[in-house]
Symmetry: C2
């Protein structure tokens, strides 16, 4: 029964994601993972080919999610760059908060991918960041954004967002849309009151 297999496989993926997040990929053993699933280590290999396959799936699935969200958020060419950037920020936060554990793995554990997956992953990441750079550069060129160095601004912007999985806990006082809105505001308007 295919759905059952997929369901069990998804269960393994999910448990692995949680463990990779809290203990790190290298420090998580297959026996730990098996114990968390209520099974024996050898049994996992009825469902997966290798430990790294788990990491691979997590990282590349999230990459897809980020791309899909960004493309949708920035697609409307009629809109000025600034609101499109705001929507892209909100999309990024939405993906991050939808699966915090997977996001944390995506952000921190990708270096344990072996070649050529590692290089492929970094290329995707670079392409994604380039999307933000372009958006900010457009906004700066149009006078909508103050960004003397769009590359630097994009770096800082994504930095603020990507730290989120280290502190965000679902069920806290702030809902994901709240967080997205506040982050976008703080990053676009800054902290200091201007005269």
């Amino acid at each position: 029964m295919e759905t059952v297999q997929l369901s069990r496989k998804d269960q393994i993926d999910q448990t692995a994601t949680a463990l990779f997040r809290t203990r790190g990929f290298a420090a998580t053993s297959m026996r730990e993972l098996a114990a968390a699933l209520g099974m024996e280590a050898g049994s996992i290999y009825s469902h997966i080919r290798s430990k790294e396959e788990l990491l691979h799936r997590i990282c590349f699935r999230l990459a897809e999610d980020f791309f899909a969200g960004f493309d949708e958020a920035s697609a409307d060419d009629a809109l000025p760059a600034a609101p499109r950037l705001r929507r892209a920020v909100e999309s990024h936060v939405r993906v991050l908060t939808t699966d915090v554990a997977a996001s944390a793995v995506f952000l921190h554990e990708w270096r344990h991918l072996s070649e050529p997956a590692r290089t492929e992953f970094l290329a995707l990441r670079e392409r994604y960041e380039a999307g933000f750079r372009t958006l900010i550069a457009e906004g700066a060129a149009a006078g909508e954004l103050y960004a003397p160095d769009p590359d630097f601004a994009a770096l800082t912007l994504l930095a603020s967002l990507n730290w989120l999985p280290t502190w965000y806990r679902p069920g806290g006082p702030l809902t994901p849309p709240d967080i997205a809105h506040r982050l976008a505001n703080q990053l676009l308007f800054g902290l200091e009151v201007r005269s």
Copy 2:
């Protein structure tokens, strides 16, 4: 001769820091570390007690550096909160850029500390972040800063800064003071042009 011993020990610390940064603490073996130092794995134990001692020293040394910098930056009570915050940001960036590898380890590998070091470390970190929260809250109360939620603002501020070790490479086009200045500007003034 004590200085020679310390020098060799420091060499081990430094090499360990670089390896822990790029490969992660758990994925770095003592044999790898020894090879990078041109010695055998067993020989390292003439200088250290355990692998974790290396991590412990790295993490807690950096914690001290951050505290010393912050205390100096925020000490001047005569100054308004906003410029003190700016100086604290610049100090944080200075510590990060002075030893990027150690900073990356400090930020990402501390979870491999075992108890009670781990709890002790987290308490230090919390105390440091509280310093920023207080500074931002003071600035907001005095009307110098726009921060409806100082805790949230502090989180985002440190997030932007702490991502730095993932992209900064010494010898790039930007000097550390440049970076500090730009980051402080972007975080305090934001991106969006106001009318």
